[in-house]
């Protein structure tokens, strides 16, 4: 096993463990912290795939901004283990079985799928660098970029309107 494979399996273990902890933990604050760990692991995956720009954006936007917003809301509402609503155990079991069947069907369908190439290139290619992404973003994708700024403005106005009621 070379260093790339070791890092891949380590990051995979952290991502899956964090994701399971998000679903299973009783205290919402622990869920948020586990989700932050998952996002860090996914950023590590992006760096392994040589997509540095997305790795940094993932850290800043998701782990930095969005999860802090979640944490603030949870602390504002003072949610903890006692106030946590619980489904009854049969519904939980049914949900888990349904999700497991979903995973089983998708894995069985995609296990033998034909793809153009069987390997994802790790650590090579300049696609994920900010120079190339910026050129493509401001040439071919400039209209979606501007529209997304309008989306942000409307989301901001919407959040303020909803919050002021």
């Amino acid at each position: 096993m070379n260093i790339t494979e070791i890092l891949f399996w380590l990051l995979t273990a952290v991502a899956l463990g964090g994701a399971l902890l998000v679903v299973t933990s009783k205290n919402p604050v622990y869920s948020v912290l586990a989700l932050i760990a998952t996002f860090f692991a996914l950023s590590g995956h992006y760096i392994l795939l040589n997509a540095q720009f997305l790795a940094v954006v993932n850290l800043i936007v998701y782990a930095g901004a969005i999860m802090v917003l979640f944490l603030f809301v949870i602390m504002l509402m003072n949610l903890n283990t006692e106030t946590e609503p619980q489904k009854n155990k049969w519904l939980k079991l049914a949900g888990t079985i349904a999700g497991g069947c979903f995973l089983l069907v998708l894995v069985a369908a995609l296990r033998e799928a034909d793809s153009k190439s069987t390997m994802a290139l790790v650590g090579e290619g300049d696609t994920g660098l900010i120079q190339n992404l910026g050129k493509a973003l401001f040439n071919e994708y400039v209209i979606p970029f501007e529209i997304s700024s309008v989306l942000f403005l409307s989301a901001m106005v919407g959040a303020v309107v909803l919050g002021k009621k």
């Binding site: 997305l54 888990t96 696609t127 989306l151």
Partner: protein, 113 residues
Amino acid sequence: MPINLYIFLALALFSIGVIGVLTRRNAIIIFMCIELMLNAVNLLLVAFSKMHLADSMAAGAAPTLTNGIDAQLFVFFIMVVAAAEVTVGLAIIVMMYRNIHSVDVNFLNRLKN
């Protein structure tokens, strides 16, 4: 790394998100599971972008070419939309908490009252 491993990792993360949505009653946790599903899709898009690049490099193209850049820009736009979604969603959850003093989604099973 083989592309299959990335596919299975993304599927596992997505399924954990689905299980979370189905088994939890806290609106904020359900929202976080939706974020988890979005991130699984992002990881798969980045892996496929690199697969596309590997394919064109195997065909003998120059190593600095920018095949697969669309997928990474899609990921960027997914992150933008997710950020906008989170602001509005959390505002709605805060408003719901002010009205019924709980984040339990079972209290919202009817539209009136």
